[in-house]
Symmetry: C2
Subunit: 352 residues, 2 copies
């Protein structure tokens, strides 16, 4: 077992959930609730229980899978369920699932009776390398991602790679995009290592390095006043494309597919508004397109995408602010970019 | 101007809002929003603006007055309004009103885009001596008070007694109950002083003392792990009666009227389950009934009241926990009380 101390809580990389077992046996909590979606309750919960010696002293709260259900209606339903089940301030909530579960479960726990303890057990690659670290909780409102939320740290986070074996290829690729991002913004050798690796069998040490990078950044700047903004590289355009796709496409893009588009567009912005070279852009675009399916960003969606970018949380004084690459492995933030350049970056992606 | 430093923010007692003027002129904020209800926007906003040299650089968000509107639907509406008005993370929200506005406005601000700054300008006696201090934000769900909320400190709190001149007598009495509570749980001489005072013209120094007591308690225990629970004296039964009345009475009890009933019932519990004397109970009951109208707690409401008490946030492991008086001016907490004693305390109140 390896342990990484994050700002105020512990991250456990392990195969036996020992620390959780000890905590549950300590009788610190009056009741334990496990939040899962219909998939994780079927596929991950049995493994989770077996890793905890057939742990069964909990109430299961099941929600529907999918980003479209990370909304206030589900929150209200779960708050009321907690009340019906007589959850008090000494109750514990264990969020077992992907980012939807850990984001929403964290928000619910951090606000129920003004806050109860929660533990995240991310079961997807995406949530292991992204949502697991940094204390962001949140829900979407009207397709605006994480419009409402808190900064609240879980008591513990468990990263158990055994859960990944249950994931379909498309899910693995989605999480892999965040790992690529960590390389692009912070660690060029790691980016090169990932390029040579097989995303279908992500190595535990690569997952560890990704979590380590994110943890380093959020420990320096927990409330995203400055440095933490670099983690949003690819996300200004990526989130907009993701929101649009979710609302309009029959088979919407995954988060990773959307931010991968964002990487290309924002790398294109980086050669105009920062110091990235054309060669580096070509390398990034080539690698991304070798992994992720090409998407067509419709001309008629540009206005909507632009509106979605305007509600991005990084913005200030009405300006859309980007995090851009200075070079592969180094990122800057608070970059103002002209509307024309934003639009031409979308055109650039389409032209590939 | 007097200033009291609370845990992490400043409380200003003053007549000119100088510190706020300086803050607003500093250009620290990209946009300023004022949240008010239909009464405070009409009655208090002009005074507020004049105290700030006719301040007008803000967007007004108006909500409906009354506890029944401190709900998630209004929150959703206001979150969306903030988004429509392009509020970003550098926006400031000023909550101008009573406890409904400061509780709900604080919750909205503490969760919008994971938290923006807010300032409380309490305009009722109740919110000046209670909601103004301690960083509790919250909304009600299904008549369960403050079921969802956060502990988040405002940047500043301004206590301006000029607002009180606009209040009807019943509102003043409602706030006065919290002042009486501060005396009962923490400061017998202050309680005796209040008994000799005129609640219709609350003295600034008495308001100050009340805020000081609350501030002392919440600074020691901001997250209500122990000592802060004494501030709930009268509230376990009081909140239940208030919730029941809100749902069933044509002219519901005010918060102060409800907790005043709670003071009597819980003082009656205190002679059985703590060390309060019968003489002290008689003194408290006599004083409360000289100020507050007698209410009849219906026999058929007892079950519902009991259920409401069971969802009280102080409870642990299914036990209803009370804060009880050891003597006038001293309070203890985490007291378990039998169901029979709870019911007979309601009978005691009815018998007066």
């Amino acid at each position: 077992m390896e342990t990484l101390t994050s700002a105020g809580h512990s991250l456990y990389f392990e195969s036996n959930l020992d620390a959780l077992k000890t905590l549950l046996e300590s009788n610190k909590y009056s009741k334990v609730f496990v939040l899962a979606d219909e998939h994780t309750s079927e596929i991950c919960l049995p493994l989770f229980q077996s890793l905890l010696d057939d742990f069964s002293e909990f109430d299961l709260i099941e929600t529907s899978a999918g980003e479209e259900n990370k909304n206030i209606d589900f929150c209200i339903g779960i708050w009321k369920t907690l009340l019906d089940f007589e959850a008090d301030r000494k109750s514990l909530m264990i969020n077992l699932g992907g980012g939807v579960i850990t984001d929403m479960g964290g928000f619910i726990a951090s606000t129920y009776k003004r806050g109860i303890d929660f533990i995240n057990v991310p079961t997807t690659l995406l949530s292991q390398v992204d949502a697991s670290v940094g204390g962001k909780t949140g829900i979407d409102i009207d397709n605006v991602k994480n419009m409402v939320g808190t900064f609240t740290l879980p008591q513990m986070v468990f990263i158990e790679t055994a859960f990944l074996k249950t994931l379909p290829e498309r899910e693995l690729l989605s999480g892999f995009a965040e790992m690529i991002k960590h390389g692009l913004i912070y660690d060029k050798p790691y980016y090169e290592k990932l390029k040579a690796s097989n995303y279908l069998i992500p190595a535990a040490e690569d997952i560890y390095r990704s979590v380590e990078i994110k943890n380093e950044v959020v420990t320096i700047d927990p409330h995203e006043k400055n440095l933490r903004k670099i983690l949003n590289f690819g996300h200004t355009i990526g989130h907009a494309v993701e929101g649009y796709s979710l609302a309009n496409d029959e088979n919407p893009l995954t988060h990773g597919e959307a931010i991968a588009i964002g990487f290309i567009c924002e790398a294109a912005l980086s050669i105009k508004n920062s110091t990235l070279t054309k060669e580096e852009l070509n390398d990034i675009s080539g690698y991304i397109l070798s992994l992720y399916p090409k998407y067509h960003i419709k001309k008629e969606s540009f206005d909507t995408l632009f509106e979605l970018m305007q509600s991005d949380k990084k913005n200030e004084d009405g300006n859309i602010l980007f995090s851009l690459l200075e070079k592969t492995g180094k990122c800057t933030f608070n970059c103002r970019v002209s509307t024309a350049n934003i639009l031409s970056s979308l055109d650039y992606y389409n032209s590939l």
